[in-house]
């Protein structure tokens, strides 16, 4: 009983005594399990690697961002040669950045074409999967849902890995990988949007004697248009980021440049690629924020 009579006042507690004791022991149990899990993880950890991580990280950052002549700066300054070296540092990196234009544009192409293709496949699937537009809940809907789940459960990097084997390395593998992963994401959000439409409006269009396709184009599509645009733009934004790593498995884009830079231990180039990716992602965030504001 949460309500208790104590002398002449009525006291209210959230839990009665028995519930409070049970609650306390359950909390204790959860804490014990968490600590036990920590111990399991700690036992399997090679702590030498963990302790040396700051050192390793700093070393990598130095190799990526600092020039080899960094320690010689006072000497170079005295010799009056510092500015020559600084200029050379930026010239090399600038030249390399120019080389990155093509893979960068490729990356954006992969993301954009992949999104368009993905949305094109996802749209009909969404109508087949939505409970209120599917032609059959017992047969067609489960198939459509299964296709969406399959697409969603495989990461685009894995799709790319498979596709590079099937259709060979290059942008096409990347585009299809992005598209296959986008189908599940866009299809799921889209069919949820379709299931949330106002059925009254649909009934109103139906009751004019409109055909099935007319009911779809007048009664359903105008209602999901903002969601459709929002979902596509959001996915494009995600795909820009995903497309930057697809090159690691040979599916085109800037990831391929990253792969070869890492393979040749060209850490200076790696740093330039990171900055280029950062700039692209920031740009895509900005574009998609603007576009989303425009459609709603």
């Amino acid at each position: 009983m949460p309500v208790e009579q104590r002398e002449d006042t009525v006291v209210w507690r959230r839990r009665d005594k028995r519930q409070a004791v049970i609650h306390w022991f359950v909390t204790l149990g959860i804490a014990a399990v968490v600590l036990w899990c920590f111990k399991l993880i700690a036992d399997d950890t090679t702590w030498e690697f963990v302790w040396s991580a700051p050192e390793q990280g700093a070393d990598l950052a130095i190799r990526m961002f600092l020039p080899e002549w960094f320690v010689d700066i006072p000497q170079l300054w005295r010799d009056g040669e510092l500015w020559v070296h600084v200029a050379e540092y930026f010239r090399q990196r600038g030249l390399y950045a120019m080389e990155l234009w093509d893979p960068l544009v490729d990356t954006i192409h992969i993301a954009t074409l992949g999104t368009v293709l993905g949305v094109m496949i996802a749209s009909p699937l969404a109508f087949l999967a939505a409970r209120n537009t599917t032609p059959s809940t017992t047969f067609v809907r489960p198939i459509a849902l299964a296709l969406l789940v399959t697409s969603r459960s495989v990461n685009s990097l894995i799709w790319a890995l498979l596709l590079v084997v099937i259709i060979g390395p290059g942008m096409l593998a990347g585009i299809i990988a992005i598209a296959l992963r986008s189908v599940g994401f866009c299809g799921k959000l889209l069919y949820e949007a379709i299931e949330e439409i106002d059925e009254n409006t649909r009934d109103a269009v139906k009751s004019t004697g409109a055909s099935g396709m007319q009911v779809l184009t007048f009664g359903v599509i105008p209602q999901i248009a903002p969601a459709f645009a929002g979902i596509s733009i959001y996915r494009w934004d995600i795909n820009i980021r995903e497309a930057t790593i697809l090159g690691l498995v040979g599916a085109g884009g800037i990831g391929m440049a990253l792969q070869s830079a890492i393979d040749t231990l060209a850490w200076g180039q790696v740093s330039v690629i990171f900055l280029a990716i950062l700039a692209t992602v920031v740009l895509s965030e900005w574009v998609s924020a603007k576009a989303r504001a425009a459609v709603t």
Binding site: A204, A210, P222
Partner: protein, 273 residues
């Protein structure tokens, strides 16, 4: 002429929303359908255009049996029956004109409707109807930018665009303030008279039903318990439809503006519902 015989609707869980309703509606007759929530009013009119599939019984519109029609036949039959909804049920992101023209969807091909190439006659008719319902000049406005009363007028124009034989009207005034409700009911009654249209109007508001219709049907728990002219719907009859006892007591009314519009019957009706 709409002839409904033995109309029964049983849902999969066994609930019977309509338990054998017989009613005949003559051409040009304006009929109000009243009754408490859950009495089956909406089910009844939705069975007529088969947005709800009837379980048993027959419905004939001008000698055409509706309950056994196939898809194509049903589409053709639906052109003859127009529906007006409580929440207007407009396509909110489309313009007023597109909504009004959507009344012609049953008669216009898919691609013509997709690219909005409606026949000129339809467009002329749409402009004329917009003027008639008092929305001239608003054809380019998006439907969701209109007030409730205006949206319901668009709904009425869309229904008339179909050039139907009968109007199925589901709670046309329930989302409107009392004054706008009167205007909309008046407009509906005038237009029905002008076009010689029959109409079944589901309505909670008993005084409005009394004032604007030729005949009142009372539905209670899926059965027709009253059928007669508005004069016969006295305060003695209302408890039979709505249940409860005291229908003659004057309600305490503190909203002066609404006093002339809301009379005791409606006030109590809302209380019971």
């Amino acid at each position: 002429m709409l002839v409904i015989e033995g109309l029964l609707k049983r849902y999969p869980d066994g609930f019977e929303a309509l338990k054998g309703v017989d009613v005949t509606i003559e051409d040009g007759e304006l009929v109000a359908l009243i009754g408490p929530s859950g009495a089956g009013k909406s089910t009844l009119i939705r069975c007529v255009n088969r947005l709800v599939e009837p379980t048993e019984g027959t419905i004939e519109l001008n000698e055409l049996e509706l309950t056994t029609l196939n898809r194509a036949g049903l589409r053709r039959a639906r052109r003859r029956m127009a529906m007006i909804f409580q929440n207007y049920a407009l396509v909110e992101r489309l313009t007023v004109m597109e909504n009004v023209l959507s009344g012609r969807l049953g008669s216009v091909g898919f691609f013509k409707s997709l690219f909005r190439r409606f026949p000129q006659d339809d467009v002329d008719n749409a402009f004329a109807l917009l003027e008639k319902v008092g929305l001239e000049g608003l054809h380019d406005r998006r439907a969701d930018a209109l007030s409730g009363g205006q949206q319901q007028r668009v709904g009425i124009a869309r229904a008339l665009m179909q050039d139907p034989d009968i109007l199925l009207v589901d709670e046309p005034t329930a989302s409107l303030d009392p004054r706008t409700a009167r205007q909309v009911m008046g407009l509906l009654a005038d237009l029905c008279e002008e076009h010689g249209l029959a109409a079944i109007i589901n309505i909670h508001d008993v005084p409005l039903a009394r004032d604007y219709t030729d005949r009142i049907l009372g539905l209670k728990a899926g059965e027709l318990v009253f059928d007669g002219p508005p004069e016969e719907l006295t305060d003695d009859v209302l408890p039979e439809i709505y249940g409860g006892e005291d229908w003659s007591k004057e309600p305490s009314e503190d909203d002066e503006e609404e006093e002339d519009i809301r009379s005791s019957g409606q006030f109590l009706a809302e209380e019971v519902l």
